[in-house]
Amino acid sequence: MASFKPTKIHVYPKLGEKVTQDTLYWKNYKAPIQIKQFGAVSNVAFSPVAPYNFAVTAFTRIHIYGPFSQEPIKSFTRFKDTAYSGRFRSDGQLLVAGCEDSVVRLFDVGGKTALRMFKGHTKAVHLTDFTSDRYQIVTGSDDYSCRLWDIPNATELNTYREHTDYIRCGVTSKLNRDLFITGSYDHTVKLFDVRTDKSVMTMDHEQPVESLLLYPSEGLLVSAGGRFVKVWDLLKQGQPLVSLRNHHKTVTCLCLSKNGERLLSASLDRHVKVYNTTNYKVVHNFDYPASILSLALAPYDESIVVGMTNSVLSIKHKKSPSESKDSTSQQRRRPSYRMFVKGKNYIPKQDDFLVGKQVKEHLAKHDKQLKKFNVSKALDTALESWTRRRKPEVTVAVIKELNRRGTLKNALAGRDEQELSRILNFLIGNLVDARFTLVLVTPAEMILDIYRSIIGQSPVIDRQLLRLHELLERELDYQRELLEVLGMLDTLFASSLPRNAVELSLKNLCCCARMENNTFCLLEVL
């Protein structure tokens, strides 16, 4: 008397992203804290010294937040118009910010009013930064000029008028006090040396440059503009290294993770992408509710701060090691290991008579029904909402098993509106999934056969059938397009590639053709 063999559930190759070390690392953040600002958050900058406060520039204010507080510890509100680019000096004592009214203000982090005001620009100043010697400020403005200012005297040291469009971003060298780089809407990135009056290097980004970033070694420069992120090798006279196009809207902000291994880019398309800096492949992706204008990573990646156009500041803190462990153990308390091995490692003595304990076989719900030949109930249990949504392969396996037994028609027949709509819902959700299509075409045809007579009686079912119809037509168009593309590809490849690659593509072609046949059949029935 053999035992019942449970339904074989096919293991499909996992689709979607794989779980890598990166996903684990970047998922290890708490739920975001959202703080409403007065306007779009144009800039976020971290203080380089502990406790790593950060300055958030939004509309006419700059707020300074502590690492864990949700209330600003400090606010600078003395701006006449929209403030831009609030940045800390390397000692964390001073903060500089540009403004729409063309005045650059320098604040003491402890004080309230501006220490210095640098007047000279004629239009809004979007770029302000300290040089690495801490006594000078670089500014860039919409009047196409960038200037170098002396902090103690509040005087202008030099003016560079080489750009032919708005200067919107720039970065100063942390290693050399004489170097700074600016990016402009005239598509160029220029490297200036304060010892000369001219730029020493010009790179063409081919898009209005929105953000610049220097690697810690300062050998590589990353520029973002348009949909592109480009990496330049400064040691080779600004030779382009890579051009990345992973966003579908303008990239607005760039940022490096703690040890320069990962590069983050934020874009108006509401995504933050994480690149591996050795091969420049996207290793992770964050989604945000609105277009992102600014992004900053705290030192040691302790938190990710993102400012968006809908004037929301989103802060994600990293989970502490104990917390990340807790979350998994809280899910289910399992019996201890000792419980499992209790009595199992007992070695019977020579004269002991062993009485075997019958192992109770555990069957899944649908298998229990299948064992009793309750085909309709088996299908019902397989269509329970949890299984249907989370594990469609189980439902598909049961449908396949019923089909093998030749009882699928019986299981599908005699359903009321609610049950039928549930089945149809499942079909709509999974019919065009390439993994399930072959199996699900049969029940779809059967349903149409069985319930042909009642079409028109229930609006719910009719709507679903129409949706199914639409879905199939869309799928057909899609398949046809794919075939066209494949055909084109084949003519391209036929001459140049070795035999097996062609065969592979041919195989794909056949696959698609077969799928199309199936869908055609269905459409005819419909």
Partner: protein, 825 residues
């Protein structure tokens, strides 16, 4: 070509054991079943075959216990004889010659000396009309008795033994045929006939399929083709009979049986569920589901403790106390077709082929026993007649037996579902464990599957599958992911001008792969998957491909549909020789250069054995069997034969097995081999009614070994005593002298003669001690081996004191296994 008289084709094992219902002995310890031309006696507890009752010359068609002596059994056969056997000792007692083929046999305790048999009404084998006759067996002392006293009881009966049954106390006989039930009252010599309508309202068939009678009540139970069971009562009246219906089976009731007390009715059918109906409580029933295959016979032991069910897959299941399967006697499963070729498992040297649906069976050729079934499909089998099931269609082993590749197929209307599975041998569980499942490896049927022969353990084996979709694929074991073990993936896809590949074959060293595409043979390098050369000999598609082995490995042989046997030389890439022959099967002996070709001609198959180097057969036999031979295999022998005759040398290393058209497993044996087999079978006479388990054989041999040195030491008195006992036991009782006289002689024979020395007694004691420790391990064996030397030492120096002796004995008993460990590193 000379006919060789000393090589013979013989049937080898795997005969049906489910042909007729088995018989259980009165003490429920033995089970007898008709199997081909002999009756097999099995032990119900150990599943082992205890005896073969061999004397019939045709198929045995029935076995029945002799009602007057429960240790004897009658068997009838198509050869027209009834034989009486003592089944505990496998002795033929008497033979009754009827002279007509007998189809079934019945006996009743009330009719002493009378047997009821079914024979054809007209005396020829082709007639379809049968009648039941009573045979009166004369009392005579002769071995061979002509039984001519036949009296017809019922004419026009069915030849199916399940269609006739004896009623309560042998008063009446119930016989069914078609739609008619006939009850014949033996005392009154009159019969009542009851007919059913052809079809009832629901369009079901009412035809009778089986009948049985209640042992204590006047009730006849009949099974029908629509799955109903009818219980007939009051049938002594022609008009006022009644019947009630039991219905659970959905198709034909295969067999019915009442328990000896009549409390339960057992029924079985295609559903492979044993149903127990409570007599007179129609709603109550118990089920024993999933017995493995359709039930063809159900029997109950005379004491009611054992049920046996016989299944269509050549299996007898023994069910103890109505609830638990206690033993399974499984024969070789033979389906309608052997889709997988005959294979030899390189590890166990077992014959492997598909048996039960979805399973591969491993059949030990040496022991004629099914070792185990490997579940390939791993799916619940639904017992329904018109259902398409997954079938195992191809299987292949790699040369070391570590990997097994199987292909399963389900053909449903137009769509085809294929699965290629790869199984790894697990040393711990000693069975195959599923490693990789590849669903839809090809888009059409797979025509051939083969592993590359591994020359050493380092090189990875490659599996090649060719399919009707025009491609052949090479699969390779690859470490795929870091968290899982290695699994198989596709390495190469090959095609040749869109032609359909039919067969593939690796050369002996694994460097070349030959794939035949219709008329063309393509030769590929297995290292780089480059097409090296093509060979063809149009017209006619290539049917079989085979590389030569060992010294002939430069030859590639092929057979084509235009009846040609072709041999190419791969060094010159040219045809070496070809002959015109209609070869149905070509195969190479893996251990020698020989090739065997089965050639069909005018309904018969001839065998030729040749070497590829020369087109001259070294052995040929005409008319091996009728019909085409499609499956054959060379099975390596356990020990090499030393045959010097040139004609039989090809059988030295391997034995050739083949399946005939009627699915009989046959093989070739030499005369020397047969003689050896006869000798060994004589030695294996078992005088115990207890089954011979391998354990028993092992122990028995050991005990014998131990007893052997004894005669050398013991005095001749032991022999004398045994001879006198033998004399006492073997002389017929009526010629023996009086018991009082014998007694003193007997006692004297048991006494030990005075001349025996004391050491011998000690030795005997030691022997007894050691016998107590039955569960001895091998280490203890070693210590015992050293004992005779010690004994001799003792006998040389008899001046030892008793204390010394005791010390010595203690030393003997100590475990010296550690010493053994030191001696052999």
């Amino acid at each position: 070509m000379v006919e060789h008289a000393d090589i013979r084709v013989v049937h080898r094992g795997g005969s049906k054991i489910n042909f007729r219902a088995p018989v259980i002995s009165d003490d429920s310890r033995l089970l007898l079943c008709a199997s081909g031309e002999c009756v097999k006696v099995y032990s119900t507890s150990t599943e082992e075959c205890v005896h073969h009752l061999r004397a019939h010359t045709d198929v045995v068609t029935g076995v029945v216990l002799r009602p007057s002596n429960h240790l004897q059994v009658y068997s009838c056969s198509m050869d027209g004889t009834i034989r009486l056997w003592d089944f505990t000792d496998a002795i033929l007692i008497k033979t009754y010659v009827i002279g007509q083929p007998i189809y079934s046999i019945y006996a009743s305790a009330q009719h002493n000396g009378v047997l009821f048999i079914t024979i054809p009404m007209l005396n020829d084998k082709t007639s379809e009309m049968f009648h039941l006759v009573a045979v009166h067996l004369q009392q005579s002392t002769e071995q061979l008795v002509e039984a001519r006293e036949l009296s017809v009881v019922i004419s026009h009966v069915s030849s199916n033994p399940a269609a006739i049954a004896f009623g309560r106390a042998g008063e009446y006989l119930a016989s069914t045929k078609g739609l008619q039930l006939e009850v014949f009252f033996l005392k009154k010599q009159k019969s009542n006939r009851f007919s059913l309508k052809e079809e009832n309202k629901k369009g079901r068939k009412n035809t009778f399929s089986c009948v049985t009678c209640h042992p204590t009540d006047d009730c006849i139970a009949t099974g029908h083709e629509d799955g109903q069971i009818r219980l007939w009562r009051n049938f002594s009246h022609k008009k006022e009979y009644t019947y009630s219906t039991l219905h659970w089976h959905h198709t034909t009731v295969g067999s019915l049986c009442f328990t000896p007390e009549g409390t339960n009715l057992l029924s079985g059918g295609v559903e492979s569920v044993l149903v127990q109906w409570r007599y007179n409580q129609d709603t109550q029933r118990d089920f024993l589901p999933r017995l493995g295959a359709a039930i063809t016979h159900v029997t109950v032991s005379p004491d009611g403790t054992l049920f046996t069910t016989t299944h269509s897959d050549n299996k007898i299941t023994i069910i103890r106390s109505g609830a638990k399967v206690s033993a399974v006697i499984q024969g070789l499963v033979k389906g309608e077709s052997i889709e997988t070729d005959l294979l030899i498992d390189p590890r166990s040297k077992a014959l492997v082929m598909n048996g039960k649906p979805g399973h591969l069976q491993f059949y030990s050729l040496q022991r004629d026993k099914l070792m185990y079934n490997l579940d390939i499909v791993q799916q619940e089998y639904i017992y329904q007649s018109d259902l398409q099931q997954f079938e195992v269609v191809k299987a292949a082993f790699n040369s070391s037996g570590n990997w097994l590749a199987t292909v399963e197929r389900e053909q449903k209307d137009a769509e085809l579902e294929l699965n290629l599975k790869l199984w790894a041998f697990d040393d711990q569980t000693q069975s195959f464990v599923l490693n990789t499942t590849i669903s839809a490896p090809h888009e059409n049927r797979i025509t051939a599957l083969c592993f590359s022969p591994a020359t050493d353990s380092q090189t990875t084996t490659v599996l090649v599958s060719s399919s009707k979709d025009g491609h052949f694929k090479a699969w390779q074991l690859a470490a795929h992911t870091e968290d899982e073990g290695p699994c198989w993936s596709c390495d190469f896809v090959g095609a040749y001008h869109g032609l359909v590949p039919s067969c593939c074959c690796f050369s002996a060293d694994g460097s070349l792969l030959a794939v035949s595409f219709q008329e063309v043979v393509t030769v590929w390098s297995s290292a780089s998957w480059e097409l090296l050369t093509t060979l063809s000999q149009p017209p006619g598609d290539i049917r079989d491909l085979c590389f030569g082995q060992l010294s002939c490995s430069k030859y590639l042989l092929g057979t084509s549909t235009s009846n040609l046997l072709l041999c190419w030389n791969l060094l010159t890439c040219s045809l070496e020789w070809s002959t015109s022959m209609d070869i149905s099967l070509l195969l190479a002996d893996p251990l020698s250069e020989n090739m065997a070709a089965f050639c069909s001609q005018s309904g018969y198959t001839h065998l030729f054995v040749f070497k590829p180097s020369e087109p001259r057969p070294i052995f040929s036999q005409k008319a091996v069997c009728s019909g085409k031979v499609m499956r054959a295999v060379f099975a390596p022998r356990e020990e090499m034969l030393e045959s010097c005759e040139e004609s039989s040398q090809w059988l030295n290393r391997c034995q050739l097995y083949f399946l005939s058209q009627h699915m009989d497993l046959m093989t070739f044996t030499t005369k020397a081999e047969e003689d050896k087999l006869m000798d060994s079978s004589k030695q294996l006479v078992i005088d115990d009614t207890v089954a011979m388990t391998p354990f028993h054989l092992l122990l028995g041999k050991r005990r014998k070994e131990r007893e052997e040195p004894q005669p050398a030491v013991s005095s001749p008195s032991a022999q004398r005593s045994s001879s006198s006992i033998r004399e006492l036991l073997q002389t017929p009782a009526h010629v023996l002298p009086s018991t009082s006289y014998l007694c003193s002689m007997f006692v004297r024979s048991l006494l030990i003669s005075v001349t025996d020395n004391r050491e011998e007694n000690n030795e005997a004691e030691g022997e007894m001690d050691s016998e107590k420790e039955e569960e001895d391990s091998e280490e203890e064996m070693d210590t015992r081996d050293t004992r005779p030397e010690q004994v001799s030492a003792e006998s040389v120096s008899p001046a030892l004191t008793k204390a010394q002796l005791r010390e010595l004995r203690r030393l003997k008993k100590q475990d010296h296994s550690w010493l053994q460990g030191l001696l052999d590193p």
